[in-house]
């Protein structure tokens, strides 16, 4: 979910930022799809740090780049999976009366936050997908969530094996494999009852699930990863039919090029990546063509994983994205820094510390931290239910030191979330 789409933030800032901010229901970027484990015969921990969820190991990155098509060679795998996320949220202050979701309280809410079905796995020899349909138990809406459909093949390029692919997806950066860009990075799960969220650039979910992009990529044997493509808006009819739609949404005007170059090295006992990403987008109102804004996003990112024998795993990932928004009303500049570090013991017990800092125009300045402790008892080779079931339980605390330029009262938006995250 975009950090841009907090309704409180929207009211506090200019309309041009509102334009990019309105996305969909409160979806999180969590996923856990045991259909991949069933397809490959590999256990969840082979592809995921901490044995569940989006943070990929080098093995998982390669599986994704390969189009989700690797298998154990046996026929009959069905690319379907399901996931449920239940949360309990306590906030430092109550939700304002007029913003309490229907059927819930002003504080201390327990909810089946997300119920998802996935079409996830190999379709044909070179075609596979990660496609998610989600029911939000808070918004009580079912819609198409993240979707990434790929074609991938291999070739000998520049004297080495290369993976080449094309991805059709609905959220810029969701196709990225390196755990450091907005599509998949810590925190992978957030509460729908959070009182505030930090603002972010358009690249951070500003057009997620509203856009349709096609990008081509190459992962070369020498470590270079390169990707280039374009995004356009899904039609209003499609959005109304299969997604959440708001009259305040805007659409992409013309081309919205996305570019990415990175270096990735897998040493087996550790791995790292670093790179550059950017997207240039022009948005306009569906109903008023005179209103338009240009978003120029460019960022750098990095990811390091100490993997060792997998008994002790340490990760550090982060990105810094600079955005300039140009409109008739003037320019807005925003800089977003997000960094996280995690430690997992025995692929089961984990702790993660994240830091976020938004700077630029004074009314955007926001910073704080996210702390998470979690326990993932399954997802290993010898686990109960493998490869049919996985679960994580955890506690996450989000704290604000400054929110939208104001330090006083920022901590009133702090929240504690307990969660159970299960998949089949």
């Amino acid at each position: 979910m975009s950090l841009f789409d907090s309704s409180r933030f929207l009211r506090a800032t200019s309309r041009l930022i509102v334009a990019a901010a309105l996305t969909t229901i409160g979806m999180t970027n969590a996923f856990a799809v045991p259909s991949y484990a069933r397809q490959t015969g590999d256990s969840c921990d082979a592809c995921h740090i901490g044995s569940i969820g989006p943070q990929l190991t080098p093995h998982g990155m390669k599986f994704k780049l390969g189009g989700y098509t690797d298998t154990d060679g046996k026929p009959g795998h069905i690319p379907l999976a399901a996931m449920a996320i239940a949360t309990y949220t306590h906030s430092s202050s109550d939700i304002p009366d007029d913003e309490v979701p229907s059927g819930y309280s002003s504080n201390n809410n327990t909810a089946l936050q997300e119920l998802s079905g996935f079409i996830a796995g190999k379709w044909f020899d070179h075609v596979g997908s990660f496609t998610q349909i989600t029911y939000s138990g808070v918004e009580k809406v079912t819609s198409l969530d993240n979707a990434d459909i790929r074609f991938a093949t291999t070739a000998n390029l520049f004297g080495g094996d290369a993976t080449l692919g094309v991805t059709l997806n609905n959220n810029p950066t969701i196709q990225d494999p390196f755990n450091s860009l907005p599509g998949w990075r810590f925190p992978f799960l957030g509460s729908d009852f959070a009182l505030a969220e930090a603002p972010g650039p358009l690249l951070d979910g500003g057009i997620e699930l509203q856009a349709l992009g096609i990008t081509a990529y190459a992962q070369l044997a020498n470590g270079i990863y390169a990707e280039l493509g374009n995004y356009s808006s899904l039609s209003r009819g499609f959005l109304k039919g299969v997604n959440d739609y708001s009259d305040e949404q805007q659409k992409i005007d013309g081309a919205s090029p996305y570019y990415r170059i990175a270096y990735f090295k897998d040493n087996k006992t550790d791995a790292y990546s670093f790179g550059l990403v950017g997207m240039n987008t022009k948005l306009k109102d569906y109903n008023d063509s005179s209103v338009n804004e240009k978003f120029n996003d460019i960022g750098v990112d990095g990811n390091y994983q100490f993997l060792g024998t997998r008994k002790h795993i340490i990760t550090v990932a982060g990105s810094y994205i600079h955005e300039t928004v140009k409109s008739d009303g003037g320019d807005v500049k925003l800089n977003q820094l997000k960094v996280s570090g995690s430690y997992y013991f025995d692929k089961t017990y984990g702790g993660t510390l994240g830091y976020f800092n938004v700077s630029g125009d004074s009314d955007l300045a926001t910073n704080g931290m996210v702390l998470q402790a979690d326990y993932t008892p399954f997802g290993k080779e010898d686990s109960y239910g493998a490869p049919w079931a996985n679960v994580r339980v955890g506690l996450q605390y989000t704290m604000f030191n400054k929110l939208e330029g104001d330090s006083s009262g920022a901590s009133d938006n702090n929240s504690l979330m307990a969660f159970v995250w299960a998949s089949l």
Binding site: G41, T57, T71, D72, G73, K268, T269, L307
Partner: protein
């Protein structure tokens, strides 16, 4: 031929010096994503339980590549050593997505560990 024999005898000597405990760590780092050491447990790659001196492509319920089915080798320590050094050169067309383990000492440790798993 003489060079090959020297290389083989060198690798055999290195294997004799391998440390099985260290080899378990090498297995966990290099192999365990795709291979299990449990008998009958195939992942993306076949179980490596009892791999030393096993005939190639001999696990009946594992789907081998055509290249591996046609290899017709016995996985002696020397053959395994050569294969995991440069898999794609030793079995051209193998579906194993592994670039190889260049460190001879690590290979010797791994082979010492594999030899214990039977």
């Amino acid at each position: 031929m003489a060079v090959a024999c020297w290389l083989l005898s060198g690798s055999a000597a290195a294997m004799a010096d391998g440390d099985a405990a260290k080899g378990k760590d090498v297995f966990d780092s290099e192999c365990s994503d795709c291979h299990s050491m449990k008998q009958g447990k195939n992942k993306k790659g076949p179980s490596l339980f009892g791999i030393v001196d096993r005939a190639s492509a001999s696990i009946s319920d594992y789907s081998y590549s055509d290249a591996m089915r046609g290899a017709n080798v016995t996985w002696t320590a020397e053959k395994i050593d050569a294969y995991i050094t440069k898999p794609k050169e030793v079995v051209v067309g193998t579906k194993m997505k592994y670039d190889g383990l260049g460190n001879a000492a690590s290979r010797a440790d791994l082979l010492a560990y594999l030899a214990t798993q039977k």
